[in-house]
Symmetry: none
């Protein structure tokens, strides 16, 4: 089922195809996007597209994997952290970088989120299931690391933690895109602290002490 000779294609056409696909899938989800329209917008013939990709799902999977790998690579070398304090500092930085990505590439974010949507509702095909797990791998790896140095709680099922982190991330990203003037980067910078603190609240181990602040 993997796609064959798309790799060695004229980069301009490649970009045209990925561009059209990104636009369509991000805006309308997998089912909602029209493959015909993607093909048309990419400016290639029907047969050509089916020469590059087995089918609609193959294109979708290829695109998602492409974007996913780009992101994962970007966060590839997480700094080694030795203490919980260092872990949370790293998280702040991580969240800031993520937000920068969200603002810079909202379509890509929406694309990745479309995969999450498909998972919750309906069942994912094996091909897409693999992709999903690849995507979760990053959060999972981070959480694992946090648990090893005692920064992250171990009293809840691991998958639940992953789901929670994903959900809060998504809610945060989504809210930012809707409510923040994107040009106002300073304000945005501050929200890095806000969201990393939210994650810490959720993930911190033990009984949290809720102290009155006013």
């Amino acid at each position: 089922m993997p796609r064959p000779r798309f790799a060695k294609l004229d980069p301009a056409k490649k970009e045209a195809i990925f561009g059209a696909a990104l636009e369509a899938f991000a805006s309308n989800g997998f089912d909602g996007a029209s493959y015909n329209q993607i093909i048309e917008n990419a400016g290639i013939s029907k047969g050509a597209m089916y020469y590059y990709f087995d089918d609609k799902e193959d294109l979708y999977a290829t695109l998602v994997r492409h974007e996913l790998e780009e992101i994962l690579q970007h966060f590839h070398e997480l700094p080694e952290v030795g203490s919980a304090a260092e872990f949370w500092e790293m998280l702040v930085e991580l969240v800031r970088e993520t937000q920068a990505f969200v603002v810079a590439e909202p379509l890509k974010l929406k694309l990745l989120r479309s995969l999450m949507k498909m998972r919750t509702q309906g069942q994912l095909s094996p091909l897409l299931q693999d992709l999903y797990e690849l995507g979760e791998q990053f959060s999972a790896q981070l959480l694992k690391q946090g648990q090893e140095i005692g920064a992250v709680r171990t009293d809840l099922p691991f998958e639940l933690l992953v789901s929670l982190v994903t959900a809060v991330d998504e809610a945060g990203d989504c809210w930012m895109l809707e409510n923040l003037d994107m040009s106002d980067l300073k304000v945005m910078g501050n929200y890095g602290l806000v969201f990393s603190d939210l994650l810490r609240r959720i993930l911190a181990p033990g009984d949290i002490k809720f102290e009155k602040s006013d």
Copy 2:
């Protein structure tokens, strides 16, 4: 776009229509559900359906509103709480009831979630936008109350809080449906505490003190 004379219909037919629609929309989302099939499964004529509802979206909105109102009504009279402590106690109870609903009516939950999906991605039509806000109203009201008695933080934009609560709720519900043996109600009961604690962590005001627990 509001729905017309559907109200004074034979309740049995009403139920047939809603049943077929719930099944279809919950399982396949708005776009994925086939209006033709809903009509057929409802055992009603094409013309009749278009006599009751303007179009597919009208049926969807009517159904969602119906379920939403049923739920809102159920939680209508929240007990008045005077202190933060009482607020958090109430929240525990609330989460438990919500979970019971999730287990009892997974389809209805999926239906409501389909609305969330449409919102995050793609744009909601004004009609559905109204519905979405109606759905958020409950969380919003709860948060408002919490803020008034000092239980809920006021340092973040209100809409962000609402989004966060919604996201965590959804992640929790979703995780439960996937991972819990539904007959194992005792275990489920315990998760009421887990999820309400998660909400408290997010919503509690001030700088949270993360104390080492081991």
Copy 3:
């Protein structure tokens, strides 16, 4: 899978649909016939066709069943025969009638034969399998009757006999269509004797005595 409300359709349109389908299926077989072209030639809209028939196969099956029943009904009341001699006399008459049908309705013959073709090669869907058995039923019933009164051999597997009769019929029909001037009905009449004798040679029981005739 059966077809729904095609029955109570304006007979003229019914005929248009059956006509287009007969022409296409008879000439090109099931796979070879273009459903799109059938629809166009029938002069109805695509949606309308799918309103009458579930799919291409449904139309094909409906058409074949229609023609089959017409034929079976025509031969419904076979005269009761009490002796082998009467059986062979009846066979002569039967073959003559069949030949008249072949000449009158070559397309219908080709249609029925297309079903046979599909069976030998590739496997028939359950729907078409039923049809095929309905078609064989006539020959089978005839053979059964012949066996009961001792006119037809019982030393070979019954299914083989059916296959042989079918094959010889087909070869004969086919040859007639190709080689006979159809207007020359007198000659054709004689071939009734020829073909019924051929069938008798195959079906007659016992060791046949081949006597020199010259």
Copy 4:
């Protein structure tokens, strides 16, 4: 339309092409087989295939001719027979050999039969028409020989005899493939007698005497 420089090709590739084509055409018939898939399965480039063969039909015709010639060559030197009795003895042997071929090479049999199918229904292109006649040539030659020594009837049009022999052969082969456990070669041997007797019944001259056997 004849095929060009395919002859002097690496025999291994030749075999690969013929193998893929045989598999596809035998299983799906001419129309049903996908030329693209044949090319892919042959492990050859698109351009190469169109370099060797004009088009799909050219490959089909070349393959059929190849198999046909192989068979015809196998039966090339029929033993000279001087009497009707010897003729029928030879026929028994011939049928047995044919059956062995059927069991050994069912795909090749199906391929040849696909040509018959195309002939009966739809019209054969001149190229394929030639092929068909080549195939009939063997039966024809046999019948001619039989007629010369008085073993085969001369009261029917020659072409009709050929058609009948072909049809009965086909019915027999087909029935064997379907109903016989191929490993049960002993039983199969007996059917050599059955089928050659069937042919004799059809072909024997004069008025056949049907004698009661019980």
